[in-house]
């Protein structure tokens, strides 16, 4: 007997939740308990009175599972709204990364030149290192990090993506 695997889709979910203790554990735990995947997760307070947070989750799974994830999230009492940005249509996905590169000579010059091409900002520098701040679609960050790997990459920190619908309306 072999375990069967099914076709997967990638979806970006924007979730507004009550900013109460345990909510992140509830959501993350829901994914583990039901065998769903989390590719990235971001969360931050988005309200004036600190009542509401927005969580962005990138997940993948077969279409029926994505629909279940949506419904299961909506079942949680502190969840106000779940928007499947991938389902809703054109949307923007952005991610921020901090990338530390160490080196001297040509590598250092090349790293700075590539950072300029990728519109990465230098947010810290020593005579032997840079920290670049880069924002963009996840693929852009992937390719920037891949280039830096050859030029003395020390470490990478990524936020995971946040997403938003294009156009005038909110999700």
């Amino acid at each position: 007997m072999k375990i069967q695997h099914r076709e997967q889709e990638r979806h970006v979910l924007a979730i507004t939740v009550d900013n109460e203790s345990g909510i992140l554990a509830k959501i993350a735990g829901l994914f583990t308990a039901r065998g769903y995947n989390i590719d990235s997760l971001t969360v931050a307070d988005i309200s004036e009175n600190h009542n509401v947070s927005r969580i962005t989750i990138v997940t993948h799974g077969p279409p029926a599972v994505i629909d279940q994830i949506h419904a299961q999230l909506e079942r949680l009492v502190p969840v106000h709204k779940v928007s499947d940005l991938t389902e809703l249509g054109p949307h923007v996905e952005r991610e921020l990364a901090l990338v530390k590169v160490a080196g001297k000579g040509d590598n250092r010059v090349e790293a700075l030149r590539l950072a300029d091409v990728y519109r990465a900002k230098v947010v810290d520098s020593t005579t032997e290192s840079f920290i670049f701040e880069i924002t963009g679609a996840p693929e852009k960050i992937d390719s920037f990090v891949a280039l830096m790997r050859e030029l003395g990459l020390v470490e990478v920190g990524r936020t995971g993506i946040v997403g938003m619908m294009r156009g005038v309306n909110g999700a």
Binding site: M1, Q68, A71, E74, R75, V77, P78
Partner: protein, 579 residues
């Protein structure tokens, strides 16, 4: 402004919520609450013998009365012992509020004595849970907990209350009501119209009903009968839904699913329209998904959106409360002057399947067949309109098959989680909620031992519950699966070293009756009914009887094994891996 302690706020809020009974067990972290209970006559506290008993008793109370069950336990082991009952209530959508003590807020996270992360442990087996850190939040939290537990799809809610929050005081009347939880209640009108049109056009419809009808309240059962009367469709029910539709009706197909009737499963398989009302296409109902009702359009009425398309893809979802949606459908049926197709040919086909007599079992002159014991129990008790609880296993399925139900809230069984040890505490809870009713726990000799300590609870509160044990000296369902799947290698399924149940009963101040011979069966049951007090009946039944019909786990729902079929064939690895 006057101030009250957290424990007093708790008591007052429970009273405001209409709570009459609390099932609990004291301990260090709930002593302030127990002290508040001491001189308070507004709430009756039922002292169980184990916290699992408290949770199941609260479930039995809730299922039989429709009111939320309330549990009060201490921190650490008190809470963890209650978890099985909480998970059980979650799976079967039973309204329950569980109050757990917690170590003082300053001690949380220090591995203090009797500390457990109750909120963490119960996170995924509750509808919602709370850790209350300020007595000023208690009333609003409790009020919201009751709303969440009882509205929408019901379920358990845990409120974890640190000991210092019980002692500290807060201003009275500081309760700002919250209103964030508002599940949908009525179905979309266009979906209702479409459903009625589909029902009127169907030539082979089946109504497939579940526990949602029971949870929605007795009116849902009445409306279900009315809708069935209008459309004439045959009706089957899940284990959880038994009683919503009267078993003597000619449209009644019996229970469906793994141990359902042949006619119920065949009708589902050959139907052109299935209307699911408050059921969830559980794997015990569908069998192999690919073979489940392949030609039927499926309408799914459910209060919980996540039940839609979870296992079976449906054609028309209707999100709403069963009572309201059924009334909408009845109104639409009447106002659109709908009329049903002639279903006589459909009923003729159903009669053909009925003729297989799938519940038949071999008769015995020497032994008491367990099915016969249930039939006699039904015949001799039906005039009393009893409430039946069960444990889990063969006896549970035999009771579902051979006992018949005519009204909701009379059948209390652990369906989703399948918790052995459920029946006795559930019977205690049901008896408290229905002091005049005849309450019988149909049990197996193995299951009953899982919460046997609750005999003492029934003795203490003079609850005349009856425990009817089908004693076959095996964990019968495990043995049956071993016979079917593992060539009768009965690994650890023999109930060795059984207690003398009569002596055990007497030790707790109960009456004990043993039934060993066929000739004593009726007299034994009658003696149980006639005794004004709790009774254990140890009914010795045929040891190796199988619970049939049955389709194997993961098999098509039409491939039913019946008495006389070979139960000893080879099984594939896929079948062995299917639960």
């Amino acid at each position: 402004m006057t101030e009250r302690s957290g424990a007093d706020i708790l008591m007052d809020t429970l009273v405001e919520q209409g709570v009459e009974v609390v099932f609990g067990y004291p301990g260090g972290a709930v002593l302030p609450i127990y002290d508040a209970l001491f001189n308070d006559n507004r709430i009756r506290h039922i002292l169980v013998r184990h916290e699992a008993g408290a949770a199941h008793a609260a479930e039995g109370y809730a299922r039989s009365t429709g009111k939320p069950g309330v549990v009060l336990v201490t921190s650490g082991p008190g809470a963890t012992n209650a978890v099985t009952g909480i998970a059980d209530a979650f799976m079967d959508s039973i309204p329950m509020v569980v109050l757990t003590g917690q170590v003082a807020t300053a001690m949380i996270g220090t591995d203090a004595f009797q500390e457990a992360d109750t909120v963490g442990i119960t996170r995924h087996c509750t509808k919602h849970n709370y850790l209350v850190k300020d007595p000023a939040d208690l009333a609003a939290t409790i009020n919201e907990a009751f709303k969440i537990a009882t509205t929408g799809r019901p379920g358990p809610v845990v409120i974890d209350i640190p000991k210092d929050v019980q002692v500290a005081s807060a201003p009275a009347n500081q309760t700002e009501p919250r209103s964030r939880f508002n599940p949908p209640t009525t179905g979309a009108p266009e979906a209702i119209a479409q459903a009625v049109a589909m029902l009127a056009a169907a030539e082979a419809p089946v109504l497939y009903t579940g526990g949602g009808i029971i949870n929605s309240g007795p009116e849902a059962s009445e409306l279900l009968r009315e809708l069935q009367d209008l459309c004439g469709a045959p009706l089957t029910s899940t284990l959880m839904g038994l009683g919503a539709f009267p078993a003597q009706n000619k449209a009644w197909l019996g229970m469906l699913g793994m141990h359902g009737t042949y006619e119920a499963n065949m009708a589902m398989n050959r139907a052109d329209l299935i209307i699911s009302v408050g059921a969830r296409f559980d794997d015990r109902v569908t069998g192999r998904i690919e073979d489940f009702a392949p030609n039927a359009k499926k309408i799914h009425i459910d209060i919980d959106r996540s039940s839609i398309n979870k296992t079976v893809q449906v054609d028309l979802p209707i999100i709403g409360d069963c009572t309201l949606v059924l009334r909408q459908m009845i109104d639409e049926w009447k106002s659109s002057d709908a009329s049903a197709q002639n279903l006589s040919e459909w009923y003729a086909r159903i009669d053909g399947w009925r003729a297989r007599n799938s519940l038949a079992y071999p008769q015995s002159e020497e032994e008491i067949m367990p099915q016969l014991a249930i039939e006699r129990l039904f015949e001799l008790t039906k005039q009393y309109d009893p409430i039946i609880t069960t444990e889990v296993g063969q006896h549970q399925m035999w009771a579902a098959q051979h006992f018949h139900f005519f009204a909701p809230n009379k059948w209390l069984t652990s369906g989703g989680l399948g918790t052995m040890g459920y029946g006795l505490p559930a019977a205690i809870g049901a008896q408290l909620g229905n002091p005049e009713a005849l309450v019988i726990d149909v049990a197996g000799e193995a299951s009953i031992q899982m919460n046997i300590q609750e005999l003492g609870t029934a003795s203490q509160y003079r609850l005349p519950v009856k425990v009817f044990i089908l004693n076959n000296e095996y964990m019968g369902m495990v043995r049956q699966w071993q016979e079917l799947t593992y060539e009768s290698r009965y690994s650890n399924s023999y109930s060795d070293s059984l207690p003398d149940f009569v002596k055990l009963a007497e030790a707790y101040g109960w009456k004990g009756i043993v039934i060993e011979n066929l000739d004593d069966l009726d007299a034994g049951i009658q003696a149980m009914i006639d005794h004004d007090g709790p009774v254990i009946v140890d009914c010795r039944v045929a040891k190796l009887a199988n619970c049939l019909p049955m389709f194997r786990s993961g098999a098509p729902h039409t491939e039913m094994i019946m008495y006389g079929d070979d139960t000893q064939r080879e099984v594939t690895a896929e079948a062995k891996a299917s639960v």
